[in-house]
Amino acid sequence: MATTTTKSVKINNQPIKNEIVEKTSVYKTNQLNLWYGSNHALKNIDLDIKENEVTAIIGPSGCGKSTYIKTLNRMIEIIPTVKTSGEIIYRGRNIFSKDYQVEDLRTKVGMVFQKPNPFPKSIYDNIAYGPRIHGIKNKKILDEIVEKSLRGAAIWDEVKDRLNENAYGLSGGQQQRICIARCLAIEPDVILMDEPTSALDPISTLKVEELVQELKTQYSIIIVTHNMQQAARISDKTAFFLNGEVIEYDDTDKIFSNPSDKRTEDYISGRFG
């Protein structure tokens, strides 16, 4: 299902065979290893993540799935003991190379966290924060960005009359969509989502899932989830992590209907994890 979407993606220089559009890679991970001090958390990861798809990363707690997604925008480096080897190629450039400014990477690659983390500012200032730090000061342009981002995150109608209220007055699900809107405000290329619905109630979860489906037409989305039904519902590709290794990476349909590895089958059928 994934690589055969009928959507007319405008991709140049791509060989088209049997009407299948081969999508461009956003991220190519080659032999990535990561250590927390002496703890070897990611082992020889090879993953090729495609454009305009939803890629789900599943696996039991402690398997390295959150570590991996945080490596993609180098947020993992906040932890001082982290060491990495190997490379992650984002749009043709190794993100670990010395001359790659981490701020540039994170301007291109947005992130939504497990717990909603809006700033203790007004809803408007939350959304305008990103554009502002990147130099957009014009009030009219900011107004437009705020509205567009809030509409994009399907929360405009709920907050349009209270843009100057503190974002912490909203419910958890609304806060998470504010965080998604905040991320959309700088129009990133990729959106990383680290268990974005694990702190939300079922209805808010549904809203975020629907949102992910809409967003994937414009963004490449990588989502970590411990909810297998969620991965099956919303993703095109799924990677199964176990003990810091990628056990299986394939189309979501294939992973959930006919996994090739016994361990994947055991995990998705609920025998462990």
Binding site: M75, E103, N117, P120, N166, C179
Partner: protein, 315 residues
């Protein structure tokens, strides 16, 4: 305990029942809050006692000196033999000079230190600098006074030759140094308690460290920072030893900081260490000045409380 013991027939519940002394225990339980209340009441009563003393003696002072003269008078010559003047404004101005200079020194340095400790310093650096700050806070104020008089003033005099040996500038700066640890430490606490999730949210949008510190952490910690500053100001207003040693004893109603001044606290020291007889107007005047000082620090402390409640950013 092994079940093979001879007393195995006695259950734990039975043993508890044997040992139990419910009557005495419940009497103690009832007594404890009363004892604790009495102890807690002591500090409250002491405070009330101090305030009442201040008020009564101040009232006696105002039977001799008109409150209008006291509040609006611009001359303070209590020791003049013929026509003593009791206008408190020169003393207030003296206090404000010291406090103003101290704030100008302490707020930028204190907040910059807090930003460094909370957002930039490694755990090792923090463990090294924080104790030093605490030592700075523990230096006796009389030592600061000597430091102002015998070190800072000569240094300043080599830069500004017109500076008198007693002046407002030098003790003002030293009072500022004294309150830096207070501002730095409390502001650092406020900034450290801003959840990391917020920093991560900002980093994930491509913020630099400085942007995270100034645009996310600092605003989120505003209430704590302002409250710490107000508390520090209140400390500067009440500071006594440094100004007694290094600021002189010449109350003046002007904004000159190079000449000798007198603060409210220094005046009280001057009178209490001198030989003003009990019952004289001068004797009662220290209560009136003390009461004024008390009002200043009270207002500052209430302001600090109000600010930390009012501007608390919910997260």
């Amino acid at each position: 305990m092994s079940t093979k013991d001879s007393n195995k027939s006695i259950s734990v519940q039975e043993m508890i029942a044997q040992k139990s002394n419910r009557g005495l225990l419940s009497r103690i339980e009832k007594l404890v809050p009363k004892i604790l209340f009495a102890i807690a009441a002591m500090s409250v009563l002491t405070t009330i006692g101090i305030v009442l003393t201040l008020i009564f003696e101040t009232i006696i002072f105002f039977t001799r000196v008109s409150p209008l003269e006291f509040i609006f008078g611009t001359e303070w010559y209590p020791f003049a033999n013929t026509t003593p003047a009791y206008g408190i404004l020169p003393l207030i101005v003296g206090t404000l000079k010291i406090t103003g200079i101290a704030v100008l020194v302490a707020v930028p340095i204190g907040i910059a230190t807090a930003i460094f400790l909370s957002e930039y310093a490694s755990e090792r650096t923090r463990r090294f600098i924080k104790p030093i700050l605490e030592v700075l806070a523990g230096v006796p104020t009389i030592v600061y006074g000597f430091f102002a008089l015998t070190f800072v003033t000569p240094v300043l005099q080599s830069i500004f030759p017109q500076l008198s040996i007693f002046n407002a500038l030098s003790p003002g700066i030293v009072v500022g140094i004294m309150i830096i640890p207070m501002i730095a430490s409390l502001s650092e606490d406020a900034m450290t308690s801003v959840p990391n999730a917020m920093r991560e949210g900002a980093y994930a949008l491509g913020s630099t460290r400085l942007e995270v510190a100034l645009k996310v952490v600092l605003p989120a910690a505003t209430s704590g920072i302002v409250a710490s500053t107000v508390l520090a100001i209140s400390r500067a207003i009440g500071e006594t030893m440094i100004v007694s040693v290094a600021a002189g004893s010449t109350p003046g109603f002007n904004w000159d900081i190079t000449g000798s001044i007198q603060t409210m606290t220094a005046y009280i020291v001057q009178v209490t260490t001198g030989d003003a007889g009990y019952g004289t107007t001068i004797y009662y005047s220290i209560y009136a000045v003390g009461f004024t000082l008390f009002l200043f620090t009270l207002v500052m402390n209430l302001l600090a409380q109000y600010i930390s409640k009012r501007f608390r950013e919910e997260y």
